[in-house]
């Protein structure tokens, strides 16, 4: 370990290989992380174009330009792309780049497996989208409920293969992160001194490790049903269609935490830095993250209340229980900002947007935990609104917060604050305009996943608002792309630690050299860089002069608090 973290900046081998060859064959966690981020952003645009097509069709009642079959394929591929090819690889990309830096490691534990995990992503995307070339992509929704998914053409088989491949990529990635976090931490980096982003990556990896194989089994079963005359989900052969829902949601509910926990981690990194205060309740955050992960495995059937096949009080109770650790996180975020000297830079704006809008998504999710209410809004736009509030306003805001926060570290260049704020305003307003009206449509009984809707009073207006909002979200991506493009062409203007960060990634250069660190500062708290700037006295209130007893320096900090 010490050999790798303290290695002098190694002279990289300069062969006659081309720039492209270097990227295609790299096992450097930073380059792989950058490729993950770039690839998933392309899929974000592809999924976003599909969302625009969906919303354009829904702008007015009637079937205008998308026929029902195309519409079914659109929402299926949109959902699958956004979840498996955008949010998940984007989170993995950020973690790939940042986690080894934050724990003071030189690379991931298994660099070549890391490269393998990445290259499965474009291949999985290719499989998914090639459905369009073989007579129609998958059309059974991202949840692929049987019996619909047992019918249909080759597009569904490609969808199944694509998800199996992407799942393998996730499992290998999870193993890699766990081995990295458990084995490659720098001296002094105990588990309870790890940055919260690393903790969230750890819990996410555990969820992936145990949830993905279950859906892989389910996908295999469906593949056998479709191609080899199997009877898993066919009642005529003694099978059970509800089994698919059990298997799917046993994966599917941990999956939603897999999507959101990295965003929690990013926001928890950003708030103390931009409030210029220590994080409030570090251990409570760790506890809350672990409990959300554990409870995530006990609530899958709240997606199945109306099947009549699950014990409602149990799953309803545990669903409500998840609000407790989530609430702990919310109050700790607020307490972290309380009386802080807030710097309203773009990363903080996105973090605040995340907190305020994820709260809405969390609350309308708590509504869904109420069984009678769930029966009322089952399969309506209430559900669509809920899942987009937690995924767009949650995961996407968290991702942009992270991208703006770490972009200087990754490139050595500061993104434009002006363009970043324009983007934030457009995205914030657009998200609410798109998804808030869907709450009302859902309460009014508008069913999801249908190309057409009745011109009931108010429905046309609310849908039009939603469509306008969707175009605002699309417009918000333009300043981002322009921002990244012009910044990358500009000079290297970012210092090593532009935000006065707390964690180890800011101790190295921007961008970091191969193998990351020439040397590391002492790690005696969860904020080694703060300690380096301010010494041990910086932890308590300014008026208190701590009396440092002799002994372990780690104890000084406890005494000072």
């Amino acid at each position: 370990m010490a050999t790798t973290t303290l290695a002098p900046r190694a002279a990289t081998y300069q062969g006659r290989r081309s720039w492209l060859y270097g990227w295609l064959t790299t096992t450097d966690h930073k380059k792989i992380g950058a490729m993950y981020i770039f690839t998933s952003f392309l899929f974000f645009i592809a999924g976003g174009v599909m969302a625009l097509l969906i919303r354009t069709e829904l702008a007015a009642p009637g079937v205008q330009f998308v026929d029902p079959e195309t519409y079914n394929q659109l929402f299926t591929i949109h959902g699958t792309t956004m979840i498996f090819l955008f949010v998940m690889p984007m989170n993995v990309g950020l973690a790939n780049y940042i986690v080894p830096l934050q724990i003071g490691a030189a690379d991931m534990a298994f660099p070549r497996i890391n490269a393998l995990s990445f290259w499965m992503i474009p291949l999985g995307g290719l499989l998914l989208f090639s459905g369009y070339a073989v007579g129609g992509a998958a059309n059974a929704g991202w949840t692929g409920y049987v019996p619909l998914s047992a019918q249909g053409g080759a597009g569904l088989d490609l969808w199944l293969m694509s998800l199996v491949l992407l799942g393998m990529s996730s499992v290998l990635g999870a193993i890699n992160f766990l081995a990295t976090i458990f084995k490659l931490r720098a001296p002094g980096m105990t588990l309870l001194r790890m940055p919260l982003f690393v903790w969230n990556t750890l819990v996410t990896s555990v969820l992936l490790l145990f949830a993905i194989p279950v859906i892989t089994a389910g996908l295999m079963m469906l593949f056998i049903d479709r191609n080899y005359g199997g009877g898993f989900f066919d009642p005529a052969l003694g099978g059970n269609p509800v089994l698919w829902q059990h298997v799917f949601w046993f994966f599917g509910h941990p999956e939603v935490y897999i999507l959101i926990l990295p965003a929690f981690g990013i926001v928890t990194e950003i708030l103390p830095v931009f409030s210029r205060k220590p994080l409030f309740g570090y251990k409570a955050f760790v506890f809350a993250t672990a409990s959300i992960g554990a409870l995530g495995f006990s609530v899958w059937a709240h997606h199945m209340f109306t099947t009549g096949a699950v014990y409602l009080p149990f799953f309803s109770f545990f669903t409500f229980l998840i609000a407790v650790p989530t609430g702990i996180k919310f109050f700790n975020w607020l307490a972290t900002m309380w009386r802080g000297q807030l710097r309203f830079s773009t990363p903080l704006l996105y973090a605040l947007g995340f907190i305020s809008l994820f709260l809405i998504g969390g609350l309308d999710g708590a509504f869904l935990a109420v069984v009678p209410f769930d029966f009322h809004v089952q399969d309506t736009y209430w559900v669509v609104s809920h899942l987009h509030y937690v995924l767009v306003a949650g995961a996407v805001f968290g991702i942009f917060a992270g991208l703006f926060y770490w972009f200087p570290k990754m490139t050595g260049r500061m993104l434009s604050e002006r363009l970043g704020k324009w983007q934030f305003v457009l995205l914030f307003v657009g998200t609410n305009l798109t998804f808030f009206p869907q709450h009302l449509l859902g309460l009014d009984g508008m069913i999801r996943r249908i190309v057409d809707y009745a011109p009931n009073p108010g429905w046309t207006e609310l849908n039009l608002l939603s469509t306008i909002g969707a175009f605002m979200i699309a417009a918000s991506v333009v300043p981002f792309i322009w921002n990244v493009f012009t910044t990358l062409r500009g000079p290297r203007n970012a210092p090593d630690d532009p935000w006065e960060g707390n964690t180890l990634e800011w101790a190295t250069t921007s961008p970091p050299p191969p193998y990351n660190f020439d040397s590391l500062p002492p790690i005696r708290s969860e904020r080694p860089l703060f300690d380096l700037r301010h010494g041990l006295t910086g932890h308590g209130p300014a008026a208190v002069t701590p009396q440092l007893p002799a002994g372990d320096p780690a104890d000084h900090r406890e005494a000072a608090q």
Partner: protein, 214 residues
């Protein structure tokens, strides 16, 4: 390395008692294998879940399980029992190989690995024979209703994992023959043996469930 640290300026020259060097504790590659086995456990848990779901549904509706006409198809006859014995025994030969290399005995490890490999291949051969009998003599296949689907999916995926283990054993046997392992450096043997034991344990549960519990 710590001794050299002060020469490089801002380095953690002093230890504060919380050092986590990778030389301590479990080997990183072995940890990776154990985590992978953890995910594999969940994969088979999904298949077992499907089995007990179908079984419970049939029994709850007052139907027979196995379904009528298939009561005596899956029987612990001579071939499955022999195959099971061989697979369980191969776990012991695998562990013996690990023990030999732990003592620096390369030849002993290679011999034990070769025996394990042959036993693994024998298991796969007997499984193929069992499949052949079921398909040809009983007309019982993956499309013979939920019972056939479950039997062939579960044992088929297990067989695929045995094949994966056989590939792993072949690789470490070839590496062993090339003299790449020693008493101190044989983490690949440990990893493959952990995987082989896992495959064995899954079969014990499969055998108990499919052949006896039904």
């Amino acid at each position: 390395m710590t001794a050299e640290a002060p020469a490089m300026g801002m380095a953690h020259a002093e230890s504060d008692g919380h050092v986590v060097p990778s030389s301590q504790g479990i080997n990183t590659a072995l940890l990776g294998m154990l985590l992978f086995i953890g995910s594999e456990v969940m994969f088979f848990a999904g298949l077992f879940g499907a089995y007990f779901n179908a079984r419970a549904a049939a029994l709850a509706q007052g139907q027979a399980w196995p379904p009528p006409g298939l009561e005596n198809v899956i029987e612990p006859g001579i071939v499955p029992v022999l195959a099971t014995t061989i697979l369980i025994a191969s776990s012991f030969t695998m562990q013996y190989a690990l023990r030999r290399i732990g003592k620096g005995d390369r030849t002993g490890m290679n011999r034990a690995l070769a025996v394990t490999l042959i036993m693994g291949l024998t298991f796969l051969g007997m499984q193929a024979f069992d499949y052949y009998e079921l398909l040809v003599d009983h007309g019982f296949g993956i499309n013979s209703g939920i019972y056939g689907t479950l039997f062939f999916t579960m044992t088929g995926f297990h067989g695929a994992h045995v094949f994966g283990g056989v590939v792993g054993i072949t690789i470490i046997l070839l590496r062993g023959l090339a003299g790449q392992f020693s008493g101190r450096h044989h983490v690949a043997v440990e990893a493959v043996s952990a995987y082989w034991h896992f495959v064995d344990v899954v079969w014990i549960f499969l055998f108990a469930t499919l052949y006896f519990l039904k």
